[in-house]
Structures are given as C-alpha cells and as structure tokens.
Subunit: 390 residues, 2 copies
C-alpha cells in the first residue's frame, strides 16, 4: 500500500526549504548589481527609447551567453515569438504544432499571424513536446506536398513546430529536431522560460531556425518587459531587426517603409536594466540550481509527491520548481494549492491546458493524455534565486 500524501507535511517541507519568513513570492527579481547605475546612465544619455547603446550591448551579451550568432531585442517574449514564427514562414491559415502544456502566449503568437495552433502531446520526462507523439501525429495527418506538409484533415499547411522548454527544462530537442528534419518543417523554439538552460552543453534556443526569449518580471532575468529573437542565420536576423522596427528604410531624412512592420523594438531604458541583469545570470542559475537541489533532497522521503528533476543531458535553469503529485493524489492538487497559499507560500498549478481554453477548443489536436495527466499533478513552488543562497 502506498503511503498517503500529507498536505501539512508538504507545506512544512516547502517552508523548510524557502525559510520561515511571513510570505514567499513564487518568483521575484533581484537587483543587486548595476541596475540603478545603468538606468541612471541611460537617463543621463537622454537615449531612453528606440536608439541607444544599451540595446546593442544587450544583444551582444545575449549572443555571448547563448552562443547564438544573432540576437534581436524585442518589446517582449510574445512579440519575439510572433516575429520568429513569421520569419520561419508561418502565415495566415497555416497550422503550427505546439504543446498544450504551455503559457497561452505560445498559441496567441500563432493566432496573431492568422495561423492556427495544432496541439501535440507532452512527455513526462521533459514536460515538453513528445517527439514520438509528434512523429505519430505527423504520420497520421501529414502529407508532403509541393507547398510543404499538409494536414489532410484540415487542408492547412503545417508550417512550424514549436517546442517549449517548460519551467526552464529543455524539451527533447534531439528527438524533435530529427522528426522536424524528416518532414522538413522548421522548428522555432519557445525558450522564453529557459535562458541559462543547456541541452547537451548547448544553450536552448540555438537548435531551431529561430527562437524566442523572455525577460518579463517573473523570468530568471528581467528588463521590466522584454524579449529577444535568437537565430544563427544572418539574413533572418537582419529581417527580424527590420520588421520589429517598422520596416523603415535607412535614409538621412525620408520616412519610407517597404513592408508592414511592427513597433516591437526594446526601449534602451529596458535594455539598460537587461545589461545589469545579464551580468548576474550565471550566479542566478547557480543559486536556482542549488535551491532545486534542496527541494529534491527535502522531498526525497515525502510520500505521494516528488520534485521534477532536469531530464538527462540537460542543465536546467530551474526557472520554476515543480512538485509532481503521484497520479493517485492528483485530485488533491487544489487542496494543496490552498494550503500552500494560505501559509503564505505562493504556489500555482501548471497553466490551464490550451485546448481547454474557449478560444482554442476547436483547434486540431492529437491525443493529449500525458499533458492532461501532468496538468492535474503539477504544483509550482517559490523559486527566486535569492532562496538558493549559500
């Protein structure tokens, strides 16, 4: 007989890891580096907006940290993903394969292009898209044609595949890239949660044709709001910069634009904050990994629940630590969430699965049983870098 989950024990165990302060946030940023200095420098320069040295510096630092050939800073991660998809060739009435277990912005970015998300299952090992489920789904509905892969059930083109590195854990990039290459469908990585995460010693976001990062306030580093597109393709990077800056043609004075462009550039003010934050990324990763280790150790003997650990071959940033209830305890998730939050330990479930949201209910999808099982069992617990102090 399996020992039963004891809610009080779980709350106490989390408390033991994060400390006994009154209230603990799920994830809060830390500004103990050059944040104020760079912001003040930015104000002194008067270049707070679309032009200024911090944007260039931030982009160069992102390249250095990720090993990406190019980085194009954007106003946020959603905008970055939208443009990355557009540059990968996604257009109106195409389909894009995404997991159901992800933040809603993954699917919204697809919708903004007039395209339709197509949901494929996740795997328990990575919390990301399942390469085997992807291959099976493509075998079931895909047909190679002159214009790429067609979904024979809907008649639409399947224009891209978007692995999401959920909570900072890398998806099975090797497996997914293999399927994508076999079908010749471009991969755009949603790396909005995985800055600092390596897969086989290479940074997530550098495997697909393009990828998107996010620097929202709840991420491992923040620019207030911000994101970036990564790519190693010089021409795609040039295009990304062009269409995120209103597609204006360089000229001494004329205002000519050669296509419909976006106002998606990151302001220099936000990039200034980003430079200061990025200087501390390695330290944040180190402390977040230490915190994850403490959660794992503390929960190793707690019955009915375990801590999700990075998959093989990964070095995760552990953006958000995830507790995983045993299947038999899944119906006690909300009871646990209530108890944790009542105790001042901010906690949350995984996102509501995207195919369960009203606007995505009618989208094409394969079997999603694994994602459904995971969503019922995940509880994210406080994960700020400061909680991983030495």
């Amino acid at each position: 007989m399996t020992a039963q989950l004891n809610i009080g024990e779980v709350v106490e165990t989390v408390r033991g890891v994060v400390g006994v302060a009154d209230s603990v946030a799920l994830h809060e940023p830390e500004f103990t580096g050059n944040e104020k200095k760079y912001l003040n420098d930015c104000i002194d320069s008067t270049f707070v907006s679309s032009v200024g040295g911090f944007v260039d510096r931030f982009e160069a630092m992102l390249c250095k940290h990720t090993g990406s050939g190019h980085a194009v800073a954007c106003v946020n991660g959603t905008a970055a993903l939208q443009i990355a998809l557009q540059l990968a060739g996604v257009g109106a009435n195409d389909e894009v394969i995404v997991p159901a277990l992800t933040f809603v912005a993954t699917a919204n970015s697809v919708s903004f292009l007039g395209a339709v998300p197509h949901f494929v299952d996740s795997e328990s090992r990575t919390l990301g898209l399942d390469a085997k489920a992807l291959a099976e789904r493509l075998d079931a509905v895909g047909e190679q044609g002159s214009n790429g892969v067609r979904n024979v059930q809907t008649g639409r083109r399947i224009a891209a595949i978007v692995p999401v590195h959920a909570f900072g854990h890398p998806a099975d990039l090797a497996g997914l890239m293999e399927v994508a290459e076999a079908w010749n469908i471009p991969v755009v990585e949603d790396a909005t949660e995985s800055l600092g995460t390596l897969y086989r010693n290479r940074h997530t976001g550098t495997f697909g044709l393009l990828s998107a990062l996010s620097f929202n306030g709840n991420k491992i580093i923040t620019t207030g709001g911000g994101g970036a597109i990564l790519t190693s393709d010089h021409e795609l990077a040039r295009r990304a910069k062009h269409i995120t800056t209103t597609a204006k043609l360089p000229h001494r004075w004329a205002f000519d634009h050669d296509e419909i462009g976006y106002n998606f550039r990151l302001p220099n003010l936000n990039a200034a904050l980003g430079c200061a934050q990025l200087e501390q990324l390695d330290d944040f990763v180190k402390r977040k990994r230490r915190l994850a280790g403490r959660y794992r150790a503390a929960f190793s003997h707690v019955p009915g629940i375990k801590v999700f650990a990075e998959p093989e071959g990964a070095r995760s940033n552990y953006w958000l630590n995830a507790l995983l209830l045993d299947e038999s305890e899944a119906d006690r998730r909300d009871e646990l969430l209530g108890a944790l939050n009542d105790a001042g330990v901010m906690s949350r479930p995984a996102w509501t699965l995207l195919h369960e949201l009203s606007m995505y209910r009618e989208c094409p999808r394969g079997f999603l049983g694994v994602a459904e099982g995971l969503a019922r069992r995940i509880v994210n617990v406080p994960s700020s870098a400061r909680l991983g102090h030495a």
Copy 2:
C-alpha cells in the same frame, strides 16, 4: 512677382531661433525632474514589470491631464491604436478611414487586425483629415446597411474613422464628428502626437469613442516606449485592460484566459519614467509654444516659406514645428533639407504618404491632392522643449 526662397536665409533663420550650438536634434527628451528618483524607487520596490504602483499612478495622471474618464497604459502607441480599433469593432476585412499624411503606424494598426486602410484627403488648415472630403467620399462609396456602412466599390464594411492630430495640431474634430455621427461610424482618434493639445478647450483624444496616445522617445513626454488608450466608456476601458493583459481571468492561482489577449501592458519601470515626465508636461507645452512663436516671428518676413500655425480653436502642443514652402518652391524641399541637415540642424520632410508605400498602394482611396501638395512642402525643424527656454 513673388520673392524667391533663399535657402541660406532659411537655414540662418532656423539657426537664429534654435541657437548656434553645433548640432541640434529634431526632438529630444528632457529629464530634469523626478526621473531618476522614480526609476530608483521602482528598482527598490522590485516591481519593474506588469504589476506595480507606477502604472496605476500614471494612468490616473493621464486621466487628470486629459480629462478622460479612463486611461489604459500600453507598451506603445501602435499597440494602443490597434486595441482601440479592435474595441471600436474593427475586424478582419473591414475598412478604416485614415489620412494618407501620417506616420505608417496609423495604417499598420489597421493591418494588424486584418482590416484595410482607406485613405481620405487632408486639409491645409489643420494638416488633418478633411471633414468635407470625408463626407464626399462617404457619399460616393458608402451605403447604409444592416451591418453598418458598406463600401459599394469593395463590398467591405467601413468600420471606423481615424483622425490624426498631425505634428500635434488638432484635426477638425467638430466637422469630422458631425460626418461620423451622420453615418454612425465610430471615431478613434490617433492622438499619438497631441498629448497636451486642446481643441475648443477640451483635450484631443477625448472626442472619439476611444483614442491612442504615444510616449515614444521623440514625443512631448516619453516612457522609453509606451502608449495609452483613452476612453470615457467604463466597459471599453475594462475590456482594454483585459485584452492588453493576456485576457487572464482573476483567480488566486489558476491561469485561465477567456479570449485571445495581447501582452501589451506597459512595464512599471516605463510607467515610473512616465510619472516623472507627466509632472512636467505643462511646462513642456509652454516652452514648445514659446518656441513656435519664435519660429513664426522669425519667418514672418522670409519669402517663399511660412511656419504652420495652430488652427482656429486649437491650443497645440507644437510637437514638431512645420515649415511650409510656398507651392512654387515645393521642388526645392530636398535642397532645403540637405542644407539644414548639413548645417547640423536636424530636419525632415513629412512622412512619405501612405498610399505611396508599396504595401498600401492598392488600398481604396479618395482624391488625395491636398495631402500630396502638403507632403511636397512640409519641412519639420527642431522642436525640443528646451529650445523654448525663457
């Protein structure tokens, strides 16, 4: 016989107004208030992103300054206009009437919704949409139907009218509102250039159903990048906040979203800058109006050119001062632009008219002769508030 334009005299006259420093920007921001203090406060609070007190404060200050019932801060003016149009009912395959003489973002916001810009002429008196041309165009192509006004030539619905307050001068709001009301088409004001501008003692942006402001780096106040939606309709304001913040439903922990929402909220960091800037708006307007007065006086006897003055009933913010070449001198515009920029006086022409850009060439349009005449003759000259010192 008319006296001829003397390029050297124009350059010297501008130099006389702006001072003899080496190089003068077209428009630069000024950070001599609480900018650093509020940014540092924001960092100390750790709330730099989507949650934080500066956003609420900034929105309240915008309401006070404009007299609008509600203000919803956004990531930039383009996003604000896009959402304002969506909330006014604009959808895919609708048409939206806009002037051709405006920044490209006016039309791009329409395009982002899958709608099509429909260009109507401007008037020399205001540089904005011409109420008479609008009425004539609607008489020529409009037809009332059960679903609103239909363009009989294209079959599409004409879903909104967007007056733009070009360079900070109010369009003929009385005339335009009268035509719009007669046809029952909602008006969405593009007030991105006119913060601080009154029309008949009421702030621009409070006449239409909704309007958009911008706080880009080149505007009268800046948040780095930012914008806002104004409306006096409580329900529209609630909807604006909802769909600019990913349409998330309030819940203690669950991530449910009830429609396709945007990540268009203004970060708290940028709102902090905005609060400091808005405290100085009245002073900026005063100095910019003083500078405009100096331009007018200095050019009163220069042949071949004049300074555009606010139309009757307006109190303009004179965002960008505009020189207007006589019709007979229009072909010397680029010569003048070259001479001014060579002399270190940053100057620019009006925007390339939108119907002349490749992506908008095929859009429906009326006669645009006045806009074409104005675009050939406008030269914007340095207009920073600091140039209007006492």
